[in-house]
């Protein structure tokens, strides 16, 4: 058998359809009798809706329906919800404001939907949309999280005074105070973690169809988690009972978190499809996506690190204001709390940590998980502080890290997490070697001869992935369990279908999951199919995000395979007329130990279904098993990224000249795919550091509202990346997998900014560090030097 097992760089099974233009993305689907939805969106960030007049729009050619918040409320359609309850310090519950899919009475951000036009063609829907008359009474807006709680800021939702959603904390403030009083050295940083727009290259889309005969609704949707979408839409929004709603997410063109959430548009399509009795299709435009897709990050933080005379980190004190936008998106509350502050210990043994987080409403697009979700923000805080500490203390940045690394496991941090395994020095050492750290000064001199400033920056990050142990998640406020399901169906001919609740949108599950099955059962990988993304086919599942599909999804498959093997051995025992305990499965063959009797996998599969040799009723025919796997801990991928950068001091332009990444992901099923995930993550992180940033003006207009103004990294913005791995296996799941999807995006921003600040000799630099920002930082620092 060719090498297709665990650890082999198998070429992807799913590629053929994508390479030949025969994928099945949502927009590729057209349903008979389909109509088109176009959303009318608020041009104002904050305004009262005085009057909506649909009469002219309704009279336009081809129009099937013009629906507003009024009809939506009249039909008693529920509000969108945030599914993770966070309590404030004082024990009070977070202030979740209603989020109707179509605004009624008031709009709260530019892009808030005020109506939808459904017509025979998209052009007709757009023409009619221009005739929808909405009278607004414009209200003052607030967009800056740092200003949202000021008395002068307009209150956006009645439920949330001072626009405060919660005032949350973690860790022990008293201990931390004492630590800082006794510190030999304190490092302080003010940090803005810039707001990002995810921009998966496939825009979101939805097609809803109602079958009045069976009273069922079908939704084709660009979602990372079809079952969660179905659950929320049925249980909270109340469009249809769960068993009368089918959600299909076939091929999805990238998600990065932005396709986790349940958005107004798919809800409205379902509702409209039932009202008009025709399939309704909506496809987001790119510029529309800037206003309709949840954004990411957007933190304002003050952070302090205390060190003793031996340069040991003794404490961390962090205060963050997190902007959640105009409404609380599906998982928004958890991102700046349990996915952020719980990672503030980094790779370091820090005895005392305290973090306060205020989440606020502003008149901006809702903010939720985006690749890394909370962990990039935490890593940025910790890794900037460590780097600056080393510079202020005049010690080597690698040495200071090494001195503070956690070396014994398990390690309980002061912020909930219990790290189970790792070897942080191993990845640091390997990275130092690959990056030729020793040769940096020589390279810097060479750059200097060409008039360039050169800097090197580190990021020794950690993340908590494999989301998540259900009980732990529940105790922290999560409204759902975060296990995963799998069903393994062996066909009578021996081929295998695996149904998984995970969803692939670039991760290559059809290959890696099949590798695990092929490896375990000893059958060719071609004989294994992975089925996902359809609530009618797959038993309930939680979807793909938080680098969970390997650690949680594959573990569920392994559990189901355990059962399959056990059952198959019982069948084989009948076929081979031997005791069950003597049956051995190896390389796709069942043998009876100590004899030359054997049966091939396919024969046993067939016998399982024809049941001719079972000899009695005890053994059930068939070979199909299901399993639910609930992790017992998070997994903790970690590693070291080193960025080397050159700056042109005349223009402020920077060029990343080298990148080294050494990551510990535990067991790697397919190194080719894992490396690809690392590459993509790094470049998204580089995007955050150098190019990407959503900018609002004071009135709440999004100035970076299209790809003409919001810069995504291009191929020439990055060099070839050096990627390597070290391995400590995850002890909590059967294969020892940790997860790799977010690592690059988590590690990269700190590495870039550490390198840039090293090059330009000033820490005063905000992301995105565009050429202009770098130039300004240089000007400011030169000015200060002159003055001094």
């Amino acid at each position: 058998m060719p090498a297709t097992g665990i650890g082999a760089p198998v070429r992807r099974k799913e590629d053929h359809r994508f390479l030949t233009g025969r994928g099945h993305y949502t927009d590729d689907i057209n349903r008979a009798g389909q109509s088109y939805a176009y959303f009318v969106r608020s041009p104002h960030a904050h305004a009262a809706i005085k009057r909506v007049d649909t009469s002219r729009a309704r009279a336009m050619p081809g129009v099937l329906a013009v629906l507003t918040g009024e009809e939506f409320a009249n039909d008693k359609i529920g509000s969108l919800v945030c599914g993770w309850m966070i309590n404030s310090k004082d024990g009070s519950a977070m202030k979740m404001a209603p989020h109707p899919a179509i605004a009624r009475g008031k709009v709260n951000h530019v892009g808030d939907a005020v109506g939808v036009v459904v017509a025979e063609t998209l052009a007709q829907a757009m023409d009619a949309a221009e005739k929808l008359a909405v009278d607004y009474d414009v209200l003052p807006a607030v967009v800056d999280p740092a200003k949202a709680q000021m008395p002068s800021a307009p209150q956006i939702h009645e439920i949330a005074p001072s626009n405060t959603i919660y005032d949350w904390q973690i860790g022990d403030a008293t201990t931390v105070e004492a630590v800082f009083r006794n510190a030999n050295h304190v490092v302080k940083l003010d940090i803005v973690n810039n707001r990002l727009v995810p921009n998966a290259i496939e825009p979101r889309a939805a097609i809803a169809e109602y079958d009045s005969g069976t009273q069922t609704l079908t939704l084709w949707n660009t979602t990372q988690n079809p079952h969660v979408a179905r659950l929320v839409i049925s249980a909270f929004v109340g469009i249809a009972p769960e068993h009368k709603l089918r959600v299909i997410a076939a091929d999805v063109g990238g998600g990065f978190g932005s396709k986790i959430f349940i958005y107004p548009e798919e809800v409205v399509c379902l509702w409209a499809a039932r009202r008009i009795g025709r399939p309704v299709k909506w496809v987001s435009g790119r510029s529309e996506a800037f206003l309709a897709d949840a954004h990411g990050r957007d933190h304002v933080t003050h952070a302090e690190m205390a060190l003793d005379g031996e340069h040991r980190i003794t404490g961390l004190r962090v205060k963050t204001v997190a902007n959640l936008g105009a409404y609380m998106s599906t998982f928004s509350s958890s991102i700046p709390t349990y996915l952020y502050a719980t990672l503030l210990s980094g790779q370091y043994a820090i005895p005392a940590i305290h973090c306060e987080v205020n989440a606020v409403y502003t008149n901006t697009v809702p903010v939720d998980a985006y690749r890394g979700a909370g962990r990039p923000e935490a890593t940025f805080v910790v890794e900037r502080l460590v780097e600056v500490a080393a510079r202020e203390l005049g010690v080597d940045v690698a040495d200071l890290r090494r001195k503070n690394f956690i070396t014994r496991f398990p390690h309980q941090t002061p912020v909930i997490m219990n790290y189970d395994a790792g070897d942080y020095a191993a990845s640091l050492d390997r990275a130092l070697e690959l990056a030729d750290y020793g040769g940096f000064e020589g390279r810097k001199r060479e750059s200097s001869r060409r008039g360039k400033l050169r800097g090197i920056g580190f990021s020794t990050y950690i993340e908590a992935c494999g989301i998540a142990p259900s009980q732990a998640a529940g105790s922290l406020g999560c409204g759902v369990g975060l296990w995963e399901s799998a069903e393994v169906r062996v066909n009578p001919t021996g081929s295998v279908e695996v149904l998984t609740g995970c969803h692939q949108h670039g991760q290559g599950h059809e290959t890696t999951f099949a590798q695990v099955v092929s490896d375990r059962l000893g059958i060719p990988i071609e004989n294994v199919s992975i089925v996902h993304g359809d609530t009618d086919k797959v038993q309930f599942g939680m979807g793909t995000y938080g680098s969970r599909s390997g650690a949680v999804g594959i573990s569920a498959i392994v559990k189901a395979l355990d059962k399959i093997e056990a059952k198959a051995k019982r069948v084989a025992a009948h076929v081979l007329e031997a005791a069950e305990g003597d049956i051995v499965l190896k390389d796709g063959n069942f043998t009876v130990s100590g004899t030359d009797k054997s049966a091939a996998w396919g024969d046993v599969a067939l016998q399982a279904y024809i049941a001719h040799k079972f000899g009695g009723g005890e053994l059930e025919p068939g070979l199909k098993e299901g399993a639910f796997y609930d992790p017992t801990n998070f997994t903790f991928p970690a590693g070291c990224h080193i960025c080397e950068i050159e700056v042109d001091p005349q223009t402020g332009e920077s060029e990343i000249v080298a990148w080294t990444a050494v990551d510990d992901f535990g067991t790697v099923v397919n190194p080719l795919i894992v490396e690809g995930q690392v590459h993509g993550g790094i470049v998204q992180g580089v995007g955050q550091a150098l190019f990407e940033g959503a900018v609002y003006d004071r009135d709440g207009q999004l100035l970076t509202g299209s790809l003409m103004d919001y810069c995504l990294p291009r191929a020439h913005n990055v060099p070839a990346l050096k990627v390597d791995m070290t391995t400590t296996k995850c002890p909590s799941n059967p294969l020892g997998i940790k997860g790799c999807g977010e690592a690059g995006a988590i590690a990269a921003p700190a590495a870039v900014i550490n390198a840039l600040t090293h090059a330009i000799g000033t820490e005063e630099l905000t992301m995105p560090a565009t050429a202009q920002n770098v130039w300004l930082a240089l000007q400011k620092s030169a000015h200060l030097h002159k003055a001094a």
């Binding site: 994508f18 994928g23 290259i201 496939e202 091929d251 790119r286 670039g506 470049v683 998204q684």
Partner: protein, 163 residues
């Protein structure tokens, strides 16, 4: 207006469409060749790149009536659907030059155009500069660059399809 004659993937077609119809809409909605994708509205992402008379163009920024009589090649016409992959497609597969697959058809059409103009020996810097008009959010471009370099080499001994 009367139907616009075109050749798409070697087959003659007549586009009897509203003048507003962009080439990408005609390909996707009328011919149901859905491999050509739409990823933006500002002619930047390159997911819609096809060849018109042998040259890469963004199908989202051309009206069908503007290219009357043209020869159009889309991702579906790059190789025989029942035969082996084109060397450039095969290189993308071999080097894991795609993840979600959405930008992939545009990347491949751009890569082919690159080879036609710049030859079979493409260095890293050239490929990266030539990808100016194609955005990918998954791969960090690294394996796309690798794939194009390898695909370009493999095309030396391959008859390019009539474009």
């Amino acid at each position: 207006m009367s139907a616009v004659p075109l050749t798409v993937n070697g087959k003659p077609v007549a586009a009897d469409v509203d003048p507003r119809t962009l080439l990408v809409q005609f390909l996707r909605e009328d011919l149901r060749l859905t491999g050509t994708h739409v990823g933006c509205d500002t002619s930047q992402c390159g997911a819609c790149v096809v060849h018109v008379n042998g040259k890469a163009v963004k199908a989202c920024t051309v009206f069908v009536w503007q290219i009357e009589g043209a020869d159009v090649l889309t991702i579906e016409g790059v190789a025989d659907p029942n035969g082996p992959l084109h060397p450039m497609q095969e290189a993308f597969r071999e080097h894991h030059g795609l993840q979600c697959g959405y930008c992939t058809p545009g990347m491949i059409m751009t890569a082919l155009d690159m080879v036609y103009r710049k030859g079979h020996d493409l260095d890293d810097g050239t490929i990266r500069r030539e990808l100016e008009g194609n955005l990918c959010r998954c791969t960090g471009y690294q394996n796309i660059v690798k794939a194009i370099a390898a695909g370009a080499k493999a095309m030396e001994n391959y008859n390019k399809p009539a474009a």
